[in-house]
Symmetry: C2
């Protein structure tokens, strides 16, 4: 009896959690308006970079995240843990990730959460990844690589009010190895519209996938000049933009070419915020950096 | 004193483990010759598909894997856990994965282990993924997606006697969305050799990366006729070939067009072997299926 009661409770908790912690695009837009911010803070937590006093805690990674989140939650609309930084610490790391997402969902349910995981595999495998990030960990969104095509992405898109952030044009040097090569289409849309860069083909093809309304895209800030062309293909989609700050991208340039009527941008900053100080004042300094970003954003929003 | 002795022991264990559980390509080739097999068994463990009696154990996934491995280790040269199937069960799943790889490394160190994880991200992030799979979990190899280019793959290649299995031409339908589009090169090699399909460009470009000797490639068996062209670009590399069996690829066709002097193939079979029976005899039936594959492989090896 006790066991079955426990089970029923557990199922109810899960159901409640699933209903509560999904987020529509409109709710995200509302948050951006309320906070006057479209800042996403990347939680790429490296044990070699966090303040030494945190090692007194059982879970230094979680303590670090908790302090950063508490100090910046009113300035950011999104947090983006990068799964690599948790997986590198094995089971302990996975526990830190679980505690971090639970902490956000329980304390700041208005936050749009992103699992920066860059997954993608054949259909039945992508379904398992979707289950991992949308159900087990209960993130609002996950980043996905496009190389394996339609049936590797659609299992993610099948989740209502969960968002799939497809890699299109990334912020690193290697983006020029394949993403910007001109491709000749082999059929349909591509043939009609002639040769184009691979990342544009990814944008166009992805629009034809089932539930493509659940798509957002990764577009690196280091290539802001590409945004005009990108907006012709996907005028309404949200773009997750890494590479502002540490990687050299400019916030004003990105906004100039990439913003739409609903803002349509999430600007990620990781290292510049979370490692603003390596001392006891790390959370306070992180807030200062986040505030600078939010004030720039506020200014831009009022100009629009 | 006890603590520091424990620490020293732990460091020694880790060092020993790292030295012991890496594998050169030559060692893999030797194993193929000894076992007369180039079979890789995919451990894509779905709780909905495993025999019900395993739920009596604390960790049904690990018990399933252990039984499959014990029943097939002399017929297979490689095991390939697909990380999605573990991540879908959260921390418990990650523990099952850790126990599975430890079990293989401790009991069958001659086995070539593959983390089918399809990772890939900007440089500092890929370094963390490499650390996760090569150091923390101690796999011999990991599958990596090429979309983000050189600096997303080279951090994996930096590990000596660890292998990076790059997605080139996958076995799913979505492979035709982008991988087979013709690309026009923008510089160097590509310009000289004219337009080619994206997956061929991936093969050619990847050969120029640092430590490219540590590369292997995923080439789907459902596209065996492409192998002649592929072998012109990468004659010596090992190919991990999914899609034989359940996805319709033919073993003899793959060998006819893809085998090289060192065999150069790892043929993966997942569902056809591990779910050969859903009853108490699942391990026995898995062995029967693995034996069928190994006998076919033995026949092909003796023909060559």
């Amino acid at each position: 009896m006790i066991v079955s009661k426990f089970l029923v409770n557990w199922i109810l908790v899960c159901k409640f959690a699933h209903t509560y912690f999904s987020m529509t695009t409109q709710q995200l837009i509302n948050q951006i308006k309320i906070k006057k911010s479209f800042l996403c803070v990347g939680l790429d937590v490296d044990l070699n970079k966090i303040p030494k006093h945190l090692f007194a805690f059982e879970d230094p990674i979680f303590e670090f995240n908790k302090a950063i989140i508490d100090a910046t939650h009113d300035l950011a609309v999104s947090y983006k843990p990068n799964t690599a930084f948790y997986e590198a610490y094995g089971i302990k790391g996975w526990i830190s990730l679980q505690k971090t997402i639970n902490y956000i969902n329980e304390n700041y349910p208005e936050i749009f959460t992103i699992a920066d995981a860059k997954r993608g595999d054949i259909g039945n495998t992508s379904s398992m990844y979707a289950k991992a990030f949308f159900e087990d960990l209960n993130f609002d969104s996950v980043t996905v690589a496009p190389y394996m095509g339609k049936d590797s992405v659609e299992p993610f898109l099948a989740f209502q009010n969960k968002h799939t952030i497809l890699l299109a044009l990334t912020s690193n040097e290697g983006a020029f190895d394949f993403q910007t090569l001109n491709v000749e289409g082999t059929s349909g849309e591509a043939e009609r519209s002639g040769a184009k860069e691979l990342y544009k083909q990814v944008l166009e093809t992805s629009k034809t996938w089932k539930n493509s309304g659940n798509l957002m895209y990764v577009i690196g800030a280091t290539k802001a000049e590409y945004l005009t062309e990108i907006r012709k293909i996907i005028p309404d989609s949200f773009l997750l933009v890494p590479g502002v700050g540490a990687q050299g991208g400019s916030l004003s340039e990105v906004c100039k070419y990439g913003m739409n009527a609903n803002v349509g941008l999430l600007i990620n900053s990781s290292r510049a915020i979370i490692y603003a100080s390596s001392g006891n004042d790390f959370a306070e300094k992180a807030r200062e950096e986040a505030l600078k970003m939010q004030q720039e954003m506020r200014k831009i929003l009022f100009q629009v």
